[in-house]
Symmetry: C2
Subunit: 331 residues, 2 copies
């Protein structure tokens, strides 16, 4: 491998000058810079990031952490989208992205081994001891969907979106609007329920605890079961706002199994806008999470944090209401 020494020799300068040229110090004359860069190109010289990191104590590496015992990995629609956007943005700023796994020595120590400049904790689970260690350490961190102490958080504006959802359904003349709530251990589950209640109040609709069913997971089976329980009510809802698309799909199935139809008999509204949403029958009216904006904001926040600039501790990104076939006007 070609190193600075060789470049220096060919250029007739010292390695110090080569280094300064590569890093664009201004104390090198333009003439010398040009001469050096020419040789750099000819030889195909590239920096050795390990040597650089050793010397500067900066790796230009961003770590990605996700709790492994949640089996939400790369395949999760929301997180993979956020991650993709995040990655693009930090790469534009000159960083590379490395996965940090907690094997053997735990997340924190692994971060130290790799010398990452900052980390994005994608899916946190605060019962994960290793994650808490990381959060409590002095490494710049950002996260989404899991609030922790002084760690900057960027996520969807669940409350406002839920208010929007209720308003939208009321606008379609629905007054008996139910909510299939997510696990109350997660912030999105809690906030979407809160938004639903606030929305009902805003619309001057009565809040009926029986019109809230709980999905204990963010999946379709949970949605199916929750919908079933709502259907057992003597006066079932004419519209249901569901905590996520997957559960909404389950809810639609429950409606069909009860010999009814969505949206003919009951309107269904989801959250997320997963790929599936536009392909189901009926396609889903839903709130689209702005994965791109969340990812980019996380990236900017983290880089600022690394550079010791001021950052917002909480950033809420608006969702967009996507109207499709699963909701319709109540006659």
């Amino acid at each position: 491998m070609i190193d600075m020494k060789q470049v220096a020799k060919l250029a007739g300068v010292s390695v110090a000058t080569v280094s300064k040229t590569i890093n664009n110090y201004r104390e090198v004359s333009d003439e010398t810079k040009a001469k050096i860069m020419k040789i750099v190109d000819e030889l195909g010289y590239v920096q050795n990031s390990s040597a650089r990191a050793l010397s500067t104590k900066r790796s230009n590496l961003i770590g990605i952490v996700y709790s492994e015992h949640l089996h939400i990995g790369l395949e999760h629609y929301f997180f993979s989208g956020v991650l993709e956007a995040f990655k693009k943005e930090v790469e534009n700023l000159g960083y590379d992205v490395v996965f940090i796994n907690g094997r053997d020595i735990g997340y924190l120590k692994k971060c130290r081994v790799r010398g990452v400049d900052g980390v994005f904790v994608v899916t946190a689970e605060t019962s994960d001891k290793g994650l808490v260690d990381l959060f409590n350490a002095d490494i710049p961190c950002v996260t989404t969907d899991t609030p922790w102490n002084k760690i900057p958080l960027v996520y969807s504006d669940n409350v406002q979106s839920s208010i929007d959802a209720v308003k939208y359904l009321h606008g379609l003349n629905h007054t008996r609007i139910a909510h299939i709530a997510g696990p109350q251990t997660s912030i999105s589950g809690r906030e979407r329920l809160e938004g639903y209640r606030t929305g009902m109040k805003h619309e001057n609709l009565p809040y009926d605890p029986n019109m809230v069913a709980y999905a204990n997971e963010y999946d379709s089976t949970s949605g199916y079961n929750a919908m079933k329980s709502l259907l057992e009510h003597p006066n079932p809802p004419s519209a249901v706002y569901v905590v996520c698309d997957l559960s909404a799909v389950g809810a639609i199935k429950a409606i069909r199994d009860a010999n009814m139809r969505a949206p003919r008999d009951i309107s269904i509204m989801g959250f997320d806008d997963i790929q599936l949403a536009s392909h189901t029958v009926p396609s889903l009216t839903t709130l689209r999470q702005d994965r791109d904006s969340i990812g980019r904001t996380l990236a900017c926040t983290l880089i600022k944090l690394i550079n010791k600039e001021e950052v917002d501790l909480v950033t809420k990104i608006p969702c967009q209401l996507i109207e499709r076939e699963s909701t319709k006007v109540k006659k």
Copy 2:
């Protein structure tokens, strides 16, 4: 940050001995090892991977490359699954995973900068000059879905799976079986078509070129259009084997739009088993790609390659036929 010098001092030994202990050389007495490890634990010492890499010329880093102008990124169901499995496996073997982007200096140079020990090219596009440079360099590489010279390839057994598909449909008494083929620029597109033809031959069914329609992308719109063209045939098929699930979804929509029903009028079979597949109406009969096995095999192959062991240049992983609602017996 704590370094070996501090550990050495506290243990009353030289840094050389600490290094040898950490790396489990046998020339250190068990006694000394124990003493050193105790101090390592107490101080919370961790290795500095940059320094180590600088010295050993091994980074224990695996690079992930995917062509950016295909907009298949992390969000792609198949690739994210393969990547997840790959990642798990290499992590188990002591490597970490870093994304390599082609910005500024191209993939190859970036690989050299980071000193990756090997790279997994996830989605290749041989029109990508930077990728070809990488393939032609001396860095250990594996890939899926894009054959290249001497680069080991691990992917689904498209031909055999397609033969299975035709056999299965024939087993349901279908004799007029069409194929919606994928882009013939991709190996999977070509091989699935090849398998379809071979399957028809095996089943002693006539091959009719009019019974092959081409989807120019792996998406639902292309499937929709292809199906439409098949329906225009005076004697349309009773079953269609579609190159991928997404296109299959499009095909089903086309059938519905023609006032027919799948599988009542036409059976549809997909490929992939994406998440969507079990949620559509009707749910999709399909060939499940073994993303896990593909990812793991890629990992093992790459590590072997790094260690200069022998590897297979091509590994085909079987698919599994998943029977759901979109196919039925022809009466």
